[in-house]
C-alpha cells in the first residue's frame, strides 16, 4: 500500500480530532460514531493492523474506511510532519480495498454508474446540459472561460438551481464563457477519494485531452470538488489550466463592479466547504461576496474556516451515505451550529454542501427558521 512506511508513526494523540482551539471534536466520523476506531488515529492504527494481518478485511473495516469524509480536519490539526499525507493514507487504504475488490455495495455501485453512465445518477449524458436550457448560456466555443458544472450540478435538482444561479451572474457580468453540456464528463474527484485510482486516471486524462482539444485554458468550476481535482490532481497529470472556483470569479467581478448589487437584508452565516477551504485554502472570496451585499449581516459560526465542521458529504459520502444520518450526523450538528448564530440563512458555495445541509434542516425540523442558499443565490436576490 502507498504510504505504508508512515502508518506506524501515528501516536494516536488525538489532536487530529479537534478544532485548533479545542472547542469541539471536529472529525465528522468521530462526531457521529464516537468509537476511537472512527477517528483518524483509529484508522491509522487499524490500517497498520490490517497490513500486518492482525485484523481482517471486514464490513466494519470497510465502514470505518469509507465513512471518512476526507474533510482534512485531521491534516489541519495533526502535530506530526506527515500530517499532509493523512487523507492520502486513508485514500490509499481504500485503493487497496478496491484492488482486492472488497468494497461496500454503495461504493461499488457508484463506480459502476460512473463507468457505465458517466455519472453517479445513471442519467443519460445527453441530459447533462439540460440545466442550462432557457438561461441563454452558450455552449463552449473558444470563449475565455469554460464553466464546468460537474455531475451534481448537472443532474441534482437542487444543484441545478445553483448552476443556473451562477450562470446567470456570469451572464450578467458579461464574462465570456461557455459550457460543455452533453460533452462534459465527470471530474472524478470522488472516484479518486473512494479509491478507484484507475478510473480516476481515465476520467482525468479524458478531461485533460478534451479541454486541450477545445482550447479551454481558463476553467471556472461550480463544485469545489471539481476545483480540487483540476487544481491539484490534474496538474500532476500534466494539465496546465487556470482553474478558479466560481466564488473567486464572482468576488472579482463584484470588486470590478461588473455585477451591480442592491441591498438584501438578512443575517447570514457561511459554511466553508472542505474542498474549497481546508483542501485549497480558499476562505475569503465567498465571505467577500457576502460582505459586499448591502444590508446583509455575516455572522460566523464558532467553527469556521480551517476549523469548520464538514457537512459529511465529502469523500464520496454524498453518494454512498456510508457515514449515514441520525442526530449525531455532521450535517445535523452543523445546522444546529448555524442556528446558534441566530442566522436566517446558511450560505454555502458547494452544491453538495447545499444538499446535505438542506436535508439536515428537514431532519432537524428547522426549515421554518433557516434556509440554505448558495452564495450565488443570495447575490441573485440582491441584484440591482
Amino acid at each position: 500500500m502507498k504510504y505504508e512506511e508512515i502508518v506506524h508513526r501515528c501516536f494516536r494523540c488525538g489532536y487530529c480530532k479537534f478544532t485548533e482551539d479545542y472547542h469541539d471534536f471536529n472529525c465528522p466520523t468521530y462526531r457521529k460514531f464516537r468509537f476511537e476506531t472512527f477517528s483518524p488515529g483509529g484508522r491509522m492504527w487499524l490500517i497498520r493492523a490490517w497490513l500486518n494481518n492482525e485484523i481482517r478485511t471486514s464490513e466494519r473495516l470497510q465502514q470505518i474506511l469509507f465513512s471518512c469524509a476526507t474533510c482534512a480536519n485531521c491534516a489541519e490539526h495533526c502535530v506530526f510532519t506527515f500530517k499532509d499525507d493523512l487523507v492520502n493514507i486513508f485514500i490509499a487504504a481504500r485503493e487497496k480495498l478496491v484492488d482486492e475488490q472488497i468494497i461496500p455495495p454503495a461504493v461499488r455501485d457508484y463506480f459502476k454508474n460512473i463507468h457505465t453512465s458517466g455519472n453517479p445518477y445513471k442519467e443519460p449524458e445527453a441530459e447533462r446540459g439540460k440545466w442550462a436550457e432557457g438561461t441563454g448560456i452558450k455552449p463552449f466555443d473558444a470563449q475565455e472561460y469554460l464553466f464546468y458544472v460537474g455531475c451534481v450540478g448537472s443532474y441534482d435538482e437542487r444543484a441545478k438551481k445553483i448552476a443556473r444561479s451562477v450562470g446567470n451572474l456570469l451572464l450578467r457580468s458579461g464574462l465570456s464563457f461557455g459550457i460543455l453540456g452533453e460533452r462534459e464528463h465527470c471530474d472524478g474527484n470522488e472516484v479518486k477519494a473512494l479509491g478507484e485510482a484507475g478510473l480516476f486516471q481515465h476520467l482525468a486524462e479524458q478531461n485533460i485531452t478534451q479541454f486541450k482539444e477545445i482550447g479551454a485554458k481558463k476553467i471556472i468550476t461550480l463544485d469545489p470538488h471539481a476545483f480540487n481535482a483540476f487544481k491539484k490532481d490534474y496538474k500532476e497529470l500534466g494539465a496546465n489550466f487556470e482553474v478558479s472556483h466560481y466564488s473567486q470569479v464572482l468576488a472579482h467581478l463584484l470588486q470590478s463592479k461588473r455585477i451591480p448589487l442592491a441591498s438584501y437584508k438578512a443575517r447570514v452565516t457561511f459554511h466553508d466547504p472542505c474542498y474549497l477551504g481546508r483542501h485549497n485554502g480558499v476562505y475569503d472570496p465567498p465571505r467577500q461576496i457576502l460582505k459586499s451585499i448591502p444590508g446583509l449581516e455575516l455572522v460566523e459560526m464558532h467553527q469556521n474556516r480551517a476549523n469548520a465542521l464538514c457537512c459529511g458529504g465529502g469523500g464520496g459520502n454524498f453518494f454512498t451515505d456510508i457515514l449515514g444520518g441520525g442526530e449525531d450526523s455532521p450535517s445535523r450538528i452543523r445546522v444546529r451550529q448555524a442556528l446558534d448564530t441566530g442566522a436566517q440563512i446558511i450560505a454555502v458555495s458547494c452544491p453538495q454542501c447545499a444538499k446535505m445541509l438542506e436535508d439536515a434542516l428537514k431532519a432537524e425540523n428547522l426549515t421554518e427558521r433557516l434556509d440554505v442558499l448558495d452564495v450565488s443565490e443570495i447575490m441573485n436576490r440582491a441584484l440591482a
Binding site: C10, C13, K17, D24, I64
Partner: protein, 460 residues
C-alpha cells in the same frame, strides 16, 4: 445476538456498543509499551444512568469493567487485563457548571482538558484550570484519577489536589457523591471539613469506582504569560536553583528539561520558568525577582538566561504543549513512553545521570523532564524514551530501560506515578504491610466481585 451484547445495546443503543474485531483491536492497547489484551465489548455511554445499568449488568454477570478517557497514560492503565467491558467515557463531555466567584468547574466524567480550556477561554477569560501537557483529548476525570500534574502544579500540587468534588458510580451501581456536594448543592471541597473520602477513588485507576462527575478548582488567569529559560550545565545545582526560585513565589510553573538534541542542548539543563501578570509592570516585577533569585548562579558562572528563538516561545507557551506529542516521532516511529516517579527535587542530579546512562546503555533517544510540584515539595521526573513502533528491538530496549528506571526510582526513595501493573506490584511489595492491608480491605469492600479494572492495585 450474544445476550451480553444485547443487554448492553438495550442500555446504550446498538450504535454505541461493539464487539467487532476492529474495536477489540484498538481498545486492547494504549500508545505505550504494555502488552495488549482484548476487551469483549466496548461501550460509549452518554449518561450516568447508562453507566449505572452497565455496572449492574457487569456485577450480575461478573464481567470486568474498565473506564477509559483518552488512554494517554501510556502505562497500560486502560488495557482490559482480564477482558470485559471498556467504557469509553468521552461521550459524556458536558461542562455542567462553572461557579465563577467560587472558582470551580463541574464537568462530566469524559470531559476533555481541551473542552474545559476552550470553554473557559470563551466564557470565563479570567479563569483557568491546571491543564496537563497530555493531548487535549485527555479527560479531567482520568487525569485526576492518575494524580496527574499540570501547568499550575508548582503552585497548587497535583491536579488531584485541585479536585473539589466527585460523583462516583460504585461497583454496586449506586451513585455516591464525595465532598461538599454530598451535603450541599455546591462543589467547593472534596473533603474538608468532613472526612476526605476522595482518596478511596483518586489514584485507584477505576479499581474502586467510575468517576462520572468531577469538580475542579479554577484559578485566576492573568492577561499575560511569559517564559524564560535558565540554562546550566551543573546538574548538582539544579535543586538549589529550584529552591531559590520557589522561594520567590513568583513562578507559576517550573519545568527542567535536558535532552541531547539539538546539539547545543546536550549536557545542559534548562529551567523553563513560566510567570504571569495582568500588566507589564506586574510581569516585569516578577521577572526581576526571578532574575534576582538566580543572580548568584550567574555571578558564579554556573548558568545564564538563554535568549529564546522566536519559534521556541510559542511552543513553550502552548497549553497543552503539542511538542510533547511530537517527541513520539523523533525516531520517525510514533512511540514514546516514560516512567515518571514522584521524587524529591534533590534527587534531580541522580535522575539526570541515570537517564543518560540508560540512553547510552540501550542506545535510545531520550528526554528528561522534571516538573516541580507544590513549591518544591517533590517533583515528577520523566524518564522519557522515544521508540520506533516498527522496530521491535528498539521497543524491547525501551522496555528494559524503563524497567531499570523503576528499580532505580524505588531505590532512591521515589514513588511510581501512574504505575504499570508491574510497578504497582513492586510498590505493594515495598509498602508498609499495614498500609497494604488497608488497601486490600478498601478494594475488597468497594469491589467485592473484583470487576472494577481488575489487575490494578490488586493486593495478593
Amino acid at each position: 445476538m450474544n445476550p451480553i451484547l444485547q443487554a448492553l445495546a438495550d442500555v446504550v443503543g446498538k450504535d454505541h456498543v461493539s464487539d467487532q474485531p476492529e474495536e477489540m483491536y484498538f481498545y486492547a492497547r494504549d500508545p505505550g509499551l504494555m502488552p495488549p489484551h482484548r476487551p469483549d465489548y466496548v461501550v460509549v455511554p452518554r449518561t450516568v444512568e447508562e453507566i449505572q445499568a452497565i455496572v449492574r449488568l457487569a456485577a450480575r454477570e461478573k464481567i470486568p469493567i474498565v473506564p477509559m478517557g483518552a488512554g494517554m497514560a501510556l502505562t497500560g492503565l486502560i488495557i482490559p487485563l482480564k477482558g470485559g467491558i471498556v467504557l469509553d467515557m468521552k461521550r459524556m463531555n458536558r461542562i455542567l457548571e462553572v461557579n465563577e466567584k467560587a472558582r470551580y468547574a463541574l464537568v462530566e466524567g469524559g470531559t476533555s482538558q481541551g473542552f474545559l480550556r476552550a470553554y473557559l477561554d470563551e466564557h470565563y477569560p479570567r479563569l483557568r484550570h491546571s491543564i496537563p501537557d497530555s493531548p487535549g483529548t485527555a479527560t479531567l476525570a482520568a487525569n485526576v484519577m492518575i494524580h496527574g500534574q499540570g501547568r499550575l502544579t508548582q503552585q497548587y500540587g497535583f491536579n488531584s489536589d485541585m479536585v473539589s468534588g466527585l460523583e462516583v458510580v460504585l461497583a454496586s451501581g449506586e451513585i455516591c457523591r464525595i465532598g461538599s456536594c454530598a451535603v450541599s448543592p455546591d462543589w467547593f471541597s472534596k473533603g474538608a471539613p468532613m472526612p476526605d473520602l476522595s482518596g478511596l477513588f483518586l489514584g485507584w485507576f477505576g479499581a474502586t469506582g467510575i468517576l462520572t462527575k468531577v469538580a475542579v478548582k479554577l484559578y485566576p488567569k492573568k492577561k499575560m504569560r511569559e517564559v524564560e529559560i535558565f540554562v546550566t550545565d551543573k546538574e548538582d545545582l539544579v535543586p538549589a536553583m529550584v529552591y531559590e526560585l520557589t522561594h520567590t513565589e513568583m513562578v507559576e510553573d517550573i519545568n527542567v528539561f535536558a535532552q541531547p538534541r539539538p546539539m547545543i542542548f546536550k549536557g545542559n539543563h534548562h529551567l523553563a520558568l513560566f510567570f504571569t501578570g495582568d500588566t507589564e509592570e506586574e510581569l516585569e516585577f516578577k521577572r526581576k525577582l526571578i532574575w534576582h533569585a538566580l543572580d548568584p548562579f550567574i555571578k558564579s558562572k554556573d548558568g545564564g538566561f538563554m535568549g529564546l528563538p522566536p519559534v521556541m516561545k510559542p511552543t513553550l507557551l502552548d497549553m497543552p504543549q503539542r511538542s510533547v506529542s511530537r517527541f513520539a516521532d523523533v525516531k520517525r516511529g510514533g512511540g514514546f513512553e516514560y516512567s515518571g516517579p514522584i521524587i524529591l527535587v534533590d534527587k534531580y542530579p541522580q535522575c539526570t545521570r541515570k537517564i543518560t546512562e540508560l540512553a547510552d546503555k540501550y542506545n535510545l533517544a531520550y528526554s528528561g523532564m522534571a516538573r516541580i510540584i507544590g513549591r518544591g515539595h517533590c517533583m515528577m521526573y520523566g524518564f522519557a524514551f522515544t521508540f520506533n513502533r516498527a522496530d521491535p528491538d528498539m521497543m524491547e530496549r525501551t522496555r528494559k530501560a524503563l524497567h531499570e528506571v523503576s528499580e532505580f526510582a524505588l531505590s532512591v526513595g521515589g514513588v511510581f506515578w501512574k504505575p504499570t501493573v508491574e510497578e504497582q506490584q513492586m510498590a505493594l511489595e515495598k509498602m508498609d504491610p499495614h498500609t497494604r492491608a488497608l488497601m486490600k480491605m478498601i478494594k475488597q469492600n468497594l469491589d467485592p466481585h473484583g470487576i472494577m479494572n481488575p489487575g490494578n492495585w490488586e493486593v495478593a
